[in-house]
């Protein structure tokens, strides 16, 4: 994880250029759909590719801004150090919770097998 971290944050100018020249195509869209666990029919894939490229094209308007010295703003307010004390609060009622589950068995949530899936 530490190595991934350095890799991701040391984005070089060249890799940035590469990305900006890249057009989103159906291969990328299919990969993104896999990441998001969405099944797209061939029609949906084609339409999604078209709509996403249209939007991303529009979103290129910010490319003309000089953002080199601008600090990112992920949150609106600069809050810090918000804590709760280490005090137990009552847990939810298991029966009420499991009643909402699509499948439950033996006090637990039941899921299909993880064939071809990673641990």
């Amino acid at each position: 994880m530490a190595l991934e971290c350095t890799a991701k944050f040391s984005t070089t100018l060249s890799s940035l250029m590469r990305v900006e020249n890249a057009r989103i195509d159906d291969v990328v869209v299919a990969k993104v759909a896999r990441l998001a666990r969405l099944d797209l029919t061939p029609d949906e894939l084609a339409r999604m590719t078209e709509q996403l490229s249209g939007m991303l094209e529009h979103f290129r308007d910010i490319d003309k801004l000089d953002l080199a010295d601008v600090a990112p703003m992920p949150q609106p307010l600069p809050l810090k150090n918000v804590f709760r004390e280490d005090v137990v609060v009552p847990s939810l009622d298991r029966d009420e919770v499991l009643a909402n589950a699509p499948a439950a068995e033996d006090k637990r949530f039941r899921v299909p097998p993880t064939i071809g899936f990673t641990e």
């Binding site: 004390e85 280490d86 005090v87 137990v88 609060v89 033996d106 899921v111």
Partner: protein
């Protein structure tokens, strides 16, 4: 597809011209009352899904709030590992898995809480600690049907979220480890520290301490090779075995013309080998981004310093202090064992009561393996026994018998017990004449001993012990023999 290669049979050093490069990622569950971001109990082994709340279950609308105690324990750990404690943020690590309720893990990414520490191993080996960050644990899946509870080929799984959200610290070492021994020492030392500072019970068998191993090999001086990460290493012994196996597998692979793929592998302790679990690929695009539901964690200096002040003396310093007091090597087994058990203070008490340091170490180490930091036997009683033995009033063998009695009764006066049992050490002049008699009776053995065959001494000592009916002190006998020979 099974990528297991045949297990190397020789578990000794690596082939000539190779070295291993090992880094460890250790996950430790913190000893808090509640979870990292909610008030459900942090407790192991209870009925499934009884420690659940909207945050734990990732219910729509639920929001995390950081547990102050978890932060304090994480800072404690960071300071104990000589880290810099810094202002930090939380990120989301996005991936789908049934035991991950929100489909993201709240963890720390580019700004972790603790950075740049180190841990010292025997021989003044310094292992860098890159970071020690806070994150939440996942729930637990149990796989049913198919082939015996293994994940592959199961029919379905059941998920329990009691463990989800339990606070973890992930301690990432630098790739400074070069032998499997060092790796085991690192894990052991880390565990002693965790227990000493009260951050975790660090039980590998209960999963409150979990070790992932990164292994690569190279020819010394060359850049790092491609690393493989090994999961499911469930004991300190397995850490050593898995590393030795994996390093040799990689060398074999390279020497036979292959290359190492970066991948995650699984340690099979029964088979003694690693298997491919999965290759690094698309699925590892975790799309980290700042967790918008949490705010900056910026521990103020006062808080950090007050935590630093409250730290106990750490195991390494306790071993050094004990070693200096009793005159042993700080890296000796006795030093580790006694500090691990927390009995170093007790040994010091024995010594302060006038006891003989060397014997005190041996007695406490041997007799109090089942006791905690404060054995029931008064230190003065052990002290008296060591004095009795030092002064030659009882033999080593007799002292052992007396010690057993003292331990059994939770105390006792050594001199009284010695008297009751009729123990008395022979005085030196009596022993000397017995030694001379033994030399006269076994001239061959004596000749061999004088020629430097130390083993030959056994027969002579044995004879003296027999004559004295065990009342001669073996050490005294040996000393006399040595003196006679060097004359």
């Amino acid at each position: 597809m099974s990528n297991a290669t045949s297990a190397p049979t020789n578990a000794a050093a690596l082939p000539e011209g190779w070295e291993m490069v090992v880094g460890l990622e250790v996950h430790v569950e913190l000893d808090t009352a509640t979870k990292l971001f909610s008030g459900s109990p942090n407790r192991f082994g209870d009925d499934p899904n009884t420690h659940i709340d909207p945050v734990t279950l990732g219910l729509p609308g639920a929001l995390p709030v950081l547990n102050r105690k978890a932060v304090e324990l994480a800072i404690r750990l960071g300071l104990a590992l000589n880290c810099t404690v810094q202002s930090c943020t939380f990120h989301r690590k996005n991936y789908f898995y049934p035991d991950l309720p929100k489909a993201y893990q709240i963890s720390q990414y580019d700004q972790p809480l603790n950075v740049d520490g180190f841990l010292m191993l025997p021989g003044d080996v310094r292992i860098g600690v890159e970071r020690a960050h806070l994150e939440e644990d996942t729930g637990k899946s149990t796989h049913f049907g198919g082939s015996s509870g293994r994940i592959h080929g199961s029919d379905y799984s059941l998920v329990d979220f009691n463990r989800a959200g339990v606070p973890l610290v992930e301690i990432v070492s630098r790739p400074d480890i070069r032998t499997s021994d060092q790796a085991r020492q690192y894990v052991n030392e880390l565990r002693s520290i965790l227990v000493a500072i009260g951050a975790s019970d660090a039980k590998m068998e209960e999963g409150s301490m979990r070790v992932d191993v990164n292994v690569s090999v190279r020819r010394p001086g060359e850049p790092f090779g491609t690393r493989c990460e090994i999961k499911n290493v469930n004991s300190v012994r397995a850490v050593g075995r898995a590393i030795d196996y994996e390093a040799r597998r990689q060398i074999q692979e390279i020497e036979s013309g292959g290359t190492i793929r970066q991948e995650t592998r699984h340690w099979d302790d029964a088979e003694g080998r690693t298997h491919t679990l999965r290759a690094k690929e698309d699925a590892d695009d975790y799309r980290y981004f700042l967790e918008p539901d949490l705010v900056l964690l910026d521990p103020d200096r006062e808080w950090v310093e007050s935590i630093r002040t409250s730290l106990p003396v750490l195991p390494a310093a306790r071993r050094a202090a004990l070693a200096a007091l009793v005159g042993i090597d700080k890296e000796s087994e006795a030093a580790y064992v006694l500090v691990e058990r927390g009995q170093d203070d007790y040994v010091a008490e024995v010594v302060r009561a006038g006891g003989e340091a060397g014997r005190a170490v041996v007695y406490v180490q041997q007799a109090f393996a089942e006791e905690g930091a404060k054995p029931r036997v008064p230190a003065a009683d052990i002290s008296a026994l060591t004095v009795l033995e030092r002064d030659g009033k009882v033999t080593a063998t007799q002292a052992k018998t007396i010690l057993a009695e003292i331990v059994l009764n939770g105390g006792g006066d050594a001199a009284t017990i010695a008297k009751d049992k009729g123990f008395e050490a022979l005085d030196t002049s009596a022993v000397e004449s017995m030694v001379d008699a033994a030399i006269a009776a076994q001239p061959d053995a004596w000749a061999k001993y004088c020629n430097g065959e130390e083993k030959a001494m056994g027969a002579l000592v044995g004879a003296v012990m027999k004559t004295s009916q065990g009342k001669a002190d073996g050490k005294v006998v040996t000393a006399i023999l040595q003196a006679r020979r060097s004359k």
